[in-house]
């Protein structure tokens, strides 16, 4: 039997990750067995919020503490999260999908492929419509980018169209979905994306792609002194930076 698909949900604090997770669970829970692991910074508020929404049985939602290091817990030392996912699957499973919600961090925080098979990065209109332009690994290379709280755009003077076009410009064809809790189409789109990822996972064809902490960079290859190229590391390409 295959282990559950592990989906990371990252993005800055307050962009609506927990509400989106709840909404997506609400759409999928009828036929997909879902668990959620929350990474809270100094409370188990997110886990309690999710339980209070009633979209999943309370036992399917667990919180891990991150000792003020939400970034570390999803990137360089994922052991607490992996442990939580495995225990959840053993106790409540077999589960199809476990959503791991990051504690909320800055634009450089993305999941290690050791923890997340695929990952969603969440921004919101109220955080400023210049954020997609500022970019970062999550914005540019998360498997799915969500621009959330589009319903607030008129009130905060944010240009959703600009956010979508700036995002699309740096994402090299990867999907972007505009969403708000008042717009079922956005949440349905995310749920459909989750189903597609689950199908790939079950087919064994899903390969975790690391958005990476690093921006694409440039260095000349040995033996090709005049043929250096720019690339990101998402393709798993391993090489020696000392050359």
């Amino acid at each position: 039997m295959t282990r559950p698909l592990r989906i990371g949900v990252a993005g800055p604090v307050g962009t609506g990750k927990s509400s989106l997770v709840a909404a997506v669970c609400g759409v999928l829970a009828a036929d997909v067995r879902i668990g959620v692991v929350t990474n809270d910074i100094y409370t188990d508020e997110d886990a309690r919020f999710l339980r209070s929404t009633g979209v999943l049985p309370a036992e399917r939602i667990v919180a891990v503490q991150t000792g003020c290091c939400p970034h570390t817990a999803i990137r360089d030392d994922v052991s607490e999260n992996l442990q939580a996912v495995e225990e959840l699957d053993l106790r409540e499973g077999p589960l199809d999908v476990v959503l791991v919600e990051s504690g909320g961090d800055n634009l450089t925080a993305t999941f290690s492929p050791a923890l997340a098979d695929v990952q969603i990065f969440v921004l919101d209109c109220a955080g400023g419509d210049d954020v997609p332009r500022k970019g970062g690994p999550g914005v540019a290379r998360a498997d799915l980018l969500v621009i959330n709280k589009t319903d607030l755009a008129p009130y905060v003077g944010a240009d959703v169209g600009l956010m979508l076009s700036d995002s699309t410009a740096v994402r090299d064809g990867r999907p972007v979905i505009a969403a708000s809790l008042r717009d079922p189409a956005g949440v349905d789109g995310i749920a459909a994306w989750v189903r597609a990822a689950l199908a790939e996972h079950r087919a064994g064809s899903l390969v975790a792609r690391d958005p990476g902490p690093m921006a694409p960079h440039h260095h000349p290859e040995a033996g090709h002194a005049h043929d250096g190229h720019t690339h990101s590391h998402e393709d798993g390409h391993v090489h020696d930076h000392a050359h």
Binding site: T43, C69, A73, V78, E80
Partner: protein, 205 residues
Amino acid sequence: MLDLLLADARTPTGGFAHSNGVEPADIEPAELEAFLRGRLSTTGLVDAAVAAAAARGEEPLALEAAWIARTPSAPIRDAARRQGRSLLRVAERLWPGALDSYSAASAGTPRPVVLGLCGSLAGLSARRVAQLCLYDDAATCCAAMPKLGAVDALDVTAVLAASEGLIAGLADRAVAARELPSAAAPLLDLRSVAHHENHRRLFAT
């Protein structure tokens, strides 16, 4: 070198999520030294003796039962189980298959037992493992302190360095004891339980 690797918080075993009783105790930075003395001399000594015995090759499941009997706090036992499991992931990568039978047979996987087994695989002496166990305990407390109180991390590092003699003496006792010590710190246990119920906490323990 593997003793350094096992003592290094950068080795991914989730240590950053723990304060080893410092957050539950709500101490001031000036109290850290006294806190360490109390903790290391009681539960720290028990953990170190168990780790040393596991490193010497004593039956790990019997040691696990003995450790559980000496660790009355359910949240502490549960945290040690998860930390032990995380350390087993490291062991599986460094010594594939070596701890499979223990991993399958053990329900509790307490970190001190797993640390002892890793120490044995790394070729460390029981004394070195006891010292490592105590150092890790102290370093975890110290690393948490600047996140919890107004203190310069350099001051905390100085407190950790000053615990060298204490740790050396306790490591000697941990390996010399003819039977496992049962020193207890009831206040640490009680606070760990209250901490577990606290919804506003930074650290798992």
